[in-house]
Amino acid sequence: METGFRALSTAAGAMVLVIIVAIAIFLISKAVPALQANTENFLSYKAWFPNDAEPKFGIAALAFGTVLTSIIALIVAVPIALGIALFLSHYAPKRLANPLGFIIDLLAAVPSVVFGLWGRDVFRVPVQDFSVWLNKYFSWLPIFGGDGPFGRSILLGSLVLAIMVLPIVTSLSREVFQQTPLMNEEAALALGATKWEMIRTAVVPYGKPGVIAAIMLGLGRALGETIALALTLGIVFNISFNLIESGGNSIAANIANTFGEANATGRGALIASGLVLFAITLVVNMAARAIIYRRREFRDSAA
C-alpha cells in the first residue's frame, strides 16, 4: 500500500515533466508536415497563406508583432507597476495598502477576453484620438507617421496588454520589496537618508533580482496573450514600427483569428507558429524562475 501510494504520487509529480515533453513532441509532430509543404521560408516570409494549394506562410511578421507589443507593454507597465508596488509596500498606510493590494490581485483574475472587449469597444476611442493627435504633431517620427486610419493599432494592443501585465508585475514586486530587511532600512534612515534615499539605498538594490524576475514573468504573459490582442490589433501582416496606424499582429492572435478557416496544412502551420511561441515563453519563464530560485537560495543561506 505504502509503495503503491508513493508510486502514485511520484507519477503525478512526474506528470508535469511528461506534459511539457509531450507538448513539444505533439506540436512538432503536427508542425513538421506543414513545414514540409511550405513553399516559402518559415522564418523569414511575412505572410500567411497556408490553406492555398501551394502553402506559403512565414512567422517573421507575427514574431515581430508579438515581441514589439510585449516590449511596449512592458515599457508602459513596469514603471507604473513598480510605483504601485512601492506605494503598497512603503508609502500607503496598512489600512489602504491591504484593500488596494486586494484590488490589484482581482485585476489579475479578470479574464483576458474582457480586457479585449473593453479595449475594442471603449479604450479604442481615446487611443484613436491620441493617435490622431500624435500623428498631427509628431508625424515626422516614423513611429507616429502614416495617413491613417488609426485605431486598432500596435499602440492600442500594447496598452491593453500593459494593463493586463500590470497586476502580475505589481504583486510580485510588492512581495519582494516587503521582504527588505527592516534593519537595512533602518541603517539607511539612521545615516540621515530621506524616505526616497532609503528606498534607493536599501529597498531597490535588495529587490532587484526579484523585480527582474517579475518583469520576465510579465513578459511571458504578454508574449502568450491571445484573445485581447486578437480583438485589439489591426491584423495586418507586415513588419513596421508604425505604432498608431491600424495594423499589428501576433503569433497567438493569428492562431485565434485564422484557426476557423484553417485546413489540415493550415492547422499544422498554426501549430508550427505555436511551437515557436512555446519555445520563446519557455525560455523566458525558465530564465525568470532560475533568477527567483537563485535568489531564494541566497536568502535562505543568509538567514
Binding site: 496598512k94 541603517a187 534612515l189 545615516l191 540621515g192 537618508a193 530621506t194 536599501a202 538594490p205 535588495y206
Partner: protein
C-alpha cells in the same frame, strides 16, 4: 563638535502602549554613557528616541523635550534627516547593506549627502575604516561584499559607516550582543578611541561592559510587564557599581534581580 544631550520628561509610546515614562537625563559631550537594565525596560526605546528612529515604527510617538545643544529635536520645524546625520546609530545586529561592497557600505552615507568626488570618498573610507580599527583587515578587499565579513568585522564596518558622515553623537544599541568575546573587546577598544571626538551612548545587557567602558551609567527598570520603563538611577559609573543610591539598582547589579 561633540554635543550635549538633554532629555526632559521624555515618554515614548507604541500606539496606546507607553514604553517609557518621563525620562530626564543629561549627557555631557565626549563621554560614554551606558544604559543598563532588564529586558523590556525601555532602554532601547529611549535610545531610538534620541535620533528620532523611534518614530520609524508604525504608530510610535513621543512626548517631552529632547535637546541637542539647546535645540529641541522634536520641534515641528526640525529636519529629521539632519538630526539623524548629527546623531549616528549602530544597531544590535550588524546590518551592512547586503548588496554593497565594503567600500560602498562605508561611503553610503557620504554619497547620500552628495559627495561624489572619488578622491574624497576614498579618503573618507580609509579614515573611517582606520578609526573603526578595520582598515588593516579589509584594505585588500574593499570591493568584496560587506556581508562576507565576520560578525565582529561587520559591526565595525557599520561603525565606520556611521562615523564616516561625521556625526556628533553615536548611539549604540547593544552593539556586542551578537558578537564573540574577542570581537566585543575590539569594539570596546574602539569606543575608548572614539570618545575623543564623539558623545557615545550605549545600551548594553552586559554589566561588566558598562562598568568597563562608560563614564556614566543609567539604570532603567519596570515594575512589572506592561508598565512603562523608568530611569531609576543615573550617576557616575563608579558610584552606580560601588555604592548605588537605590535598592533596586543594587539588586540588579548584584544579580538578585533581572
Amino acid at each position: 563638535m561633540a554635543k550635549r544631550i538633554e532629555a526632559s520628561n521624555v515618554s515614548s509610546y507604541y500606539g496606546s502602549f507607553k514604553a517609557i515614562d518621563s525620562i530626564s537625563m543629561t549627557v555631557e559631550p565626549k563621554t560614554i554613557t551606558a544604559l543598563i537594565g532588564p529586558s523590556g525596560c525601555g532602554k532601547s526605546t529611549f535610545l531610538r528616541s534620541i535620533n528620532r528612529m523611534h518614530e520609524v515604527l508604525p504608530n510610535a510617538r513621543i512626548e517631552g523635550r529632547l535637546t541637542i545643544d539647546d535645540q529641541n529635536i522634536y520641534d515641528s520645524d526640525v529636519d529629521v534627516t539632519a538630526v539623524r546625520r548629527m546623531i549616528g546609530m549602530v544597531f544590535q545586529r550588524p546590518n551592512p547593506f547586503p548588496t554593497m561592497s565594503i567600500y560602498e557600505n562605508v561611503v553610503a552615507g557620504l554619497k547620500l549627502n552628495g559627495v561624489k568626488k572619488k578622491s574624497l570618498l576614498d579618503d573618507a573610507a580609509e579614515k573611517s575604516l582606520k578609526s573603526a580599527n578595520l582598515w588593516d583587515e579589509v584594505k585588500d578587499r574593499l570591493a568584496r561584499p560587506g556581508a562576507g565579513l565576520s560578525g565582529g568585522q561587520q559591526q565595525r564596518l557599520c561603525i565606520a559607516r556611521t562615523i564616516a558622515v561625521q556625526p556628533q553623537v553615536v548611539l549604540m544599541d547593544e552593539p556586542c550582543s551578537a558578537l564573540d568575546p574577542i570581537s566585543t573587546l575590539a569594539i570596546e577598544d574602539l569606543m575608548f578611541k572614539l570618545k575623543d571626538q564623539f558623545t557615545i551612548i550605549i545600551v548594553t545587557h552586559n554589566m561588566q561592559q558598562a562598568a568597563r567602558v562608560s563614564d556614566k551609567t543609567g539604570f532603567f527598570s519596570i515594575e512589572k510587564t506592561g508598565d512603562p520603563g523608568r530611569l531609576i538611577e543615573y550617576d557616575d559609573t563608579q558610584k552606580i557599581f560601588s555604592n548605588p543610591a537605590e535598592k533596586k539598582t543594587e539588586d540588579y547589579i548584584t544579580g538578585r534581580f533581572g
